[in-house]
């Protein structure tokens, strides 16, 4: 063996443990989960007898009460949660980044305040916001409702995450959860945009200024278009977080009355580890994986193609 080949071999051996571990823990286990989702395993003891797509069919069955429709509700909830969460993070994050990019005195302090929630656990966020948005009732008002009452805005009082009303398939109870999640991740979005803004060379703005562009036009025609790749990254990262969200909702509201704040992550967890319906839990998780994969795989391919070109 030539020395070069021997060294490449050593290099390979060095990463082999990681490759094998990931091959097993990621790809092997996903395959295993897929097998469980096609099985009749319902109970503590494993049962791999073939069920075909029965578990998938059951998830989408419309027969029965609200429990039977739980997964459809979850998907709608995920859709609305993702939509509004992304919108809030992107808009407010970009807005704060642009504000902070105006040579602000005390920028570090503001940045630290906006970003600190990112260092917290979703569990911490969930506990605090659960406490803040707890509605209370009648004369025993709590949280935000107590505040609204105190300042005379009783009209704005509502039942927050315990409210069962909805606009079409959108449950209003999701709103407090969306606020909590955005509170945690707006700073992150802002940090991404700020890094993007800082990477735009000052000469470019100066050139535009010399060309007669106003500050607003500079943002509109030069800076925002250059931030597009960052928006894409942010959408992907935030999007995949929201598609698989669990800890925050589980801590803050749980599945809620009539599943108004339920998400597939909670459904999967309760079905599998509290109900022992393993096949059904595996089916939910496989669908979650597919949803995330649809977003992530094209992004990974896109990133690596770009890297090869560089």
């Amino acid at each position: 063996m030539s020395h070069a080949r021997r060294e490449r071999w050593i290099a390979f051996i060095m990463v082999l443990p990681s490759i094998l571990l990931l091959a097993l823990f990621v790809y092997g286990f996903i395959g295993w989960t897929a097998a469980v989702s096609l099985s009749k395993w319902d109970g503590v003891e494993p049962n791999y007898s073939w069920a075909g797509l029965e578990n998938f069919r059951l998830l989408f069955s419309k027969v029965g009460g609200v429990s039977a429709r739980r997964f459809s509700i979850d998907l709608w909830n995920t859709l609305f949660f993702t939509l509004f969460f992304l919108l809030l993070c992107i808009i407010v994050g970009l807005f704060l980044a642009i504000l902070l990019d105006q040579k602000i005195r005390g920028e570090g302090v503001f940045r630290t305040i906006y970003l600190f929630p990112m260092s917290l656990s979703f569990v911490v966020t969930g506990v605090v916001w659960r406490w803040i948005f707890a509605p209370g009732a009648g004369t025993r008002l709590r949280g935000v409702n107590a505040l609204l009452h105190a300042i005379g805005l009783n009209a704005l009082r509502w039942k927050w995450y315990t409210d069962t009303s909805s606009f079409g398939p959108f449950h209003v109870a999701l709103t407090p959860v969306i606020i909590a999640a955005s509170w945690q991740l707006i700073g992150y979005t802002m940090a991404m945009y700020l890094a993007g803004l800082r990477s735009i060379p000052e000469e470019l703005r100066e050139a535009a200024r010399v060309d007669g562009a106003s500050e607003v036009k500079i943002y509109r025609h030069i800076i925002l278009p250059m931030l597009q790749p960052i928006t894409l990254s942010a959408l992907i990262v935030l999007g995949h977080i929201s598609l698989k969200i669990f800890d925050l909702v589980y801590t803050m509201t749980g599945k809620g009355p009539g599943f108004v704040t339920d998400v597939p992550g909670i459904f999967m967890f309760e079905t599998t580890f509290q109900g022992n319906h393993y096949a059904q839990g595996a089916t939910i998780s496989i669908i979650m994986l597919l949803m995330v994969a649809v977003v992530i795989i094209p992004y990974l391919i896109y990133s690596f193609r770009r890297e090869v070109e560089l």
Binding site: S2, H3, A4, E7
Partner: protein, 366 residues
């Protein structure tokens, strides 16, 4: 101290042939310079010798030893990188001692060699510093020092001066030449700068598209380039080339184009007579074109006219950008000449230094 031999060496990166059938024998104690435009394969040739790239086919010997499968650390070479590649976390002393420590050299021997090399290079006061605290020139010296302490059979240099400013580069050039004499070891040096090549090399290998174009001592390369590429690459400003025909008239031989007719010196007629009546590429260096009034004595000259386009006064000489017909060319002329753009002036061509090339093969006609 050792010779180096490339035998039919090929290097392919995918479909790109970076080094194409390289055959070079480098004698012990030579200062060989690989020169060529960027991407020509000169650095790859050096890296193949260092063992940093694997050869696709062929053999490389250091001394009598075939090193194809020898890892870099066992090739008994040292290398100075373009970026210097100093270990940022080590002091100058540790940078120089690193290789010796890896080769399990005794401590006092390391100390002796590092101090000796530092003495030669005048960097003793810097031994405790980190690379970050050094100037570009000092870093370059440390990189050379790191190579010297190893006492290798062959020194490899990959464009070691290209990160220095112009003045320091000239100074370091001379120092490297001295160092070569002092160490009496084989130096192999890569540069894109033909001035570096001309000033330091004992022999120069001109490379283009992975193919060795010519291997010769500097003066020979300059006087007798083997082909159009070498002729154009070596020398600044470049040699002028004209499409012309070789015509015989009244027993004399002329280089003829639409706009000039230059007589070939009698002593060269024998060399060129086979190309009589054929198309040739006529090459003449800018310094062999004189303004007629300032022609030095003893030159076998032929006359032509040129129209001045631009003049560049360099102080000790003038670069004239000229036209003959629609064909541009350059002359380096006596600074006393007073010419202005638009002038049509009389030129004398030193035909003793003329070059002719075959237009099909681009090879020199000799």
């Amino acid at each position: 101290m050792a010779s180096v031999t490339y035998e039919h060496v090929y290097k392919k990166f995918g479909n790109v042939i970076a080094v194409n059938d390289m055959n070079i024998e480098i004698a012990d104690k030579e200062f060989l310079v690989f020169v060529g435009p960027s991407g020509c394969g000169k650095t790859t040739s050096l890296r193949l010798l260092a063992g940093l790239e694997e050869i696709t086919s062929g053999d490389i010997y250091i001394g009598d030893k075939l090193v194809n499968d020898v890892p870099p650390k066992d090739r008994d070479i040292a290398m100075v990188f373009q970026s210097y590649a100093l270990y940022p976390h080590m002091s100058v002393y540790d940078n120089m001692a690193f290789g010796l420590r890896l080769h399990k050299t005794p401590k006092d021997e390391i100390d002796r060699r590092v101090k000796a090399a530092a003495g030669v290079l005048g960097i003793e006061p810097l031994l405790d510093r980190k690379p970050k605290q050094l100037s570009g020139g000092q870093r370059q010296r440390v990189a050379v020092g790191r190579a010297i302490v190893r006492q290798p059979k062959v020194f490899l240099f990959d464009e070691p001066l290209s990160n220095l400013d112009a003045k320091l580069r000239v100074q370091t050039r001379a120092e490297l030449s001295k160092l070569h004499k002092r160490l009496a070891t084989t130096f192999i040096y890569v540069t894109h700068d033909q001035v570096e090549a001309m000033t330091m090399a004992t022999r120069i290998a001109v490379i283009r598209d992975g193919i060795l174009q010519q291997l010769a001592p500097p003066q020979k390369l300059y006087d007798l380039p083997d082909n159009v590429f070498v002729a154009g690459f070596i020398g600044s400003p470049s040699m002028n080339f004209f499409d012309a025909t070789l015509v015989e008239q009244d027993g004399k031989l002329f280089v003829v184009s639409d706009t000039f007719k230059l007589q070939v010196p009698v002593e060269k007629m024998g060399t060129y007579k086979e190309y009589k009546g054929q198309e040739v590429i006529f090459g003449i260096r800018p310094e062999d074109i004189h303004i007629k009034a300032y022609m030095p004595p003893g030159v076998v000259s032929a006359d032509m006219k040129g129209k001045v386009d631009v003049t560049e006064l360099m102080g000790n000489e003038i670069f004239l950008y000229l036209f003959t017909g629609k064909k541009p060319f350059i002359a380096r002329v006596d600074p006393r000449a007073h010419v202005s753009p638009g002038d049509i002036i009389d030129l004398s061509i030193n035909m003793g230094n003329m070059h002719l090339f075959d237009p099909k093969t681009e090879r020199a006609i000799r």
